[in-house]
């Protein structure tokens, strides 16, 4: 072996040893997620929710129990995160959800909560599990509508609270559309169904709920504006977040998430 090679091998060994030492130190000094340890220890995952938002969370008038998409999701996640883990639902008003989490009244929030960049100093978020943003719908027989760009000159139904969303170009385009406003998103969709308008823009929950009851409308393309529902946990819950994300991604891949949506929408 030449002298140059010996130097090269020695340098490689030094680099590998340093890397190994760094990994070892990192693993040993990683802060323990005490919240996750308590959850595993007690076998209970406490989830805060505001049960006033069907079909995500609501009080079943027959049983008095809190039910909905998010509650089912909580149980499915719990089972994947640690088999046998039970879910305890904590009812909290919507504007108190973050405070309840930070004050330790629950371990996670599952309450159709949209991602909020201003909260990222206090909490860490899971990957998104549902997109509730605006979608464009039309009837299958209406030709030539494949996206927002095809709406120019078309009559579009929206609800009274409609606000153009998206990038500046899209907002400008939507602002200049001859929109017809209806009392609710469902009324806008009924108008589309009845042929009063050629397309409608509503939030995805309203669209899915309507389409569950009535055939004859189609969603065109992806949501034109994203409102992603996520699960916040406290900033120190790093292990718990890893497990949550792992379970959510797994559920997305194996079709569980789609089946859950199919059940509620």
């Amino acid at each position: 072996m030449s002298k140059r090679w010996r130097w090269f091998v020695a340098a490689a060994v030094v680099v590998l040893v340093a890397l190994g030492a760094w990994l070892l130190v990192r693993t040993l000094t990683r802060p323990v997620d005490e919240i996750w340890e308590r959850i595993v220890g007690t076998g209970v995952l406490r989830v805060c929710t505001d049960p006033s938002w069907p079909p995500f969370e609501f009080i079943d008038s027959a049983t008095g129990q809190i039910e909905g998409f998010d509650i089912d999701l909580a149980w499915l996640l719990a089972e994947r995160m640690a088999p046998g883990l039970r879910v305890q639902v904590v009812s909290v008003g919507f504007d108190g959800l973050y405070d309840a989490l930070l004050a330790g009244r629950c371990d996670a929030v599952l309450s159709a909560l949209p991602y909020d960049p201003l909260r990222t100093e206090d909490v860490i978020y899971s990957v998104a599990y549902f997109n509730a943003g605006q979608v464009l719908l039309t009837r299958p027989e209406v030709a030539g509508i494949e996206g927002v760009d095809d709406l120019e000159g078309r009559v579009v139904g929206v609800d009274w609270g409609f606000v153009p969303q998206g990038d500046p170009r899209q907002r400008e385009l939507l602002r200049n559309l001859p929109v017809r406003r209806y009392d609710t998103a469902a009324d806008a969709l009924r108008a589309l169904h009845a042929g009063e308008v050629e397309a409608a823009i509503v939030d995805r929950i309203s669209a899915l709920s309507y389409m569950r009851e009535c055939d004859g409308l189609v969603v065109v393309g992806e949501p034109i504006y994203d409102v992603n529902y996520i699960i916040p946990v406290r900033a120190e819950s790093s292990t718990m977040l890893e497990k949550l994300d792992e379970a959510l991604l797994e559920m997305r891949q194996d079709g569980t998430m789609e089946a859950l949506q199919g059940h509620w929408f």
Partner: protein
């Protein structure tokens, strides 16, 4: 001396003078980019109309000004705005009123009367988060005087500009009481601490107590306490002597404003039950200020009504405050506009969207304020 030398000398002098002038101008304080504008006045058939603004986290001055202009144009004379202690005294004694000044000055220039809601505990007045995680609504008794000092500094700074303050918000629910068991007697102690300090600094300020959340929660419920029970206990603890008026929250949920008051129901006229408690305790002269209230028109929220109902109910509620409630000084509805969308049902409490587009309720209220047909 040649002519060229003389010219160069003059040029040098001119440069020095120009530089001095630039330096001088740089030192002159600039005018604000968003001017207050001329003094305006509200025109309305109902001087009790008000709306809660949400400008605490609104950074851009033009949005503050636009908000106040639109409130005036809608015909509302009163606003309630939140002035967080944590923002204005981030370190003990380190006052910063710049943003609050902006809000108050724009409101006054539009002819609006400001009711200031005081709350939000700074980190320095709370336990060390390593020992005990707390929220911004957690205030233990040893810091009551610190909060009272904030209130004193506030009324002194805004003397002649803000004459009404609300002490705390919804102390009868756990969320607003730092997730401790709610405590009407403890809240009365807080009210007393503030009242004494504030009145010594400015006897003309109207101190409002209560601002209770309308709720049917029974005593012992960890989430909160029935507002009627809570007020009764406040009054028994002497709250009537340390407040000049009662702040009340009057939400209608799905019930029309005319529906009769009932202790077992949360509705707009529940306010009359609060009034009954004041009268029974001997405070018949004490006014009530509605500092929050109204209806929501989200299509999926379980406590919401249709947008057209919301508009009609709100107009009727303003009219009832004017006609039927002589003891009610102001009827302030929640909420004029949010600085950013919540992407939830909360957005459907607002009168205008985040980008200042008026909702139908805005126009309905405006027509009413102008005395036009609905």
């Amino acid at each position: 001396m040649r002519l060229g030398d003389s010219l160069r000398d003059w040029q040098r002098v001119a440069r020095v003078v120009l530089l001095a002038l630039v330096c001088l101008l740089a030192g002159v304080p600039g005018q604000p980019l968003v001017a207050l504008g001329p003094q305006q006045a509200v025109r309305s058939v109902n001087p009790k109309m008000g709306v809660h603004t949400r400008l605490t986290d609104e950074v851009e001055p033009w949005k503050i000004k636009r908000t106040m202009e639109m409130v005036r144009e809608m015909g509302a004379s009163w606003i309630v705005e939140y002035f967080p202690w944590a923002y204005h005294e981030p370190t003990p004694g380190g006052w910063n009123w710049s943003h609050a000044d902006l809000i108050v000055d724009h409101a006054r220039r539009q002819g609006l009367t400001v009711i200031a809601r005081l709350g939000m505990v700074p980190e320095w007045a709370r336990p060390d988060p390593d020992d005990q995680p707390t929220t911004t609504t957690y205030l233990d008794e040893e810091h009551y005087q610190d909060f009272a000092e904030y209130a004193r500094a506030f009324v002194e700074h805004f003397r002649g500009r803000v004459d009404h303050i609300v002490i705390w918000n919804e102390p009868n629910i756990g969320l607003e009481w730092g997730y401790r068991p709610v405590d009407p007697e403890g809240y009365t102690d807080l009210l007393r601490a503030v009242y004494t300090r504030v009145k010594a600094a400015n006897p003309d300020v109207v101190v409002l107590g209560g601002a209770l959340a309308p709720t049917l929660a029974p005593e012992g419920d960890p989430e909160g306490m029935n507002d009627l029970i809570y007020l009764d206990r406040m009054l028994a603890a002497g709250a009537g002597e340390v407040m000049d008026g009662l702040a009340a929250h009057a939400y209608g949920w799905r019930i029309p404003p005319d529906a009769p008051p009932d202790p077992e129901v949360v509705n707009y006229r529940r306010t009359e039950l609060l009034r009954d408690l004041l009268v029974a305790a001997g405070y018949e002269e004490m006014p009530i200020y509605l500092t929050e209230g109204g209806w929501n028109d989200h299509p999926r929220w379980t406590k919401a009504v249709q947008p057209s109902q919301r508009a009609a109910y709100t107009v009727r509620a303003y009219q009832m405050a004017l006609e039927d409630w002589p003891w009610c000084e102001a009827a302030v509805m929640w909420a004029f506009r949010y600085p950013r969308p919540a992407n939830s049902y909360l957005d459907n409490f607002s009168f205008v969207t985040t980008d200042f587009t008026p909702k139908p309720i805005y126009y309905a209220v405006q027509r009413y304020a102008r005395g036009e047909e609905p």
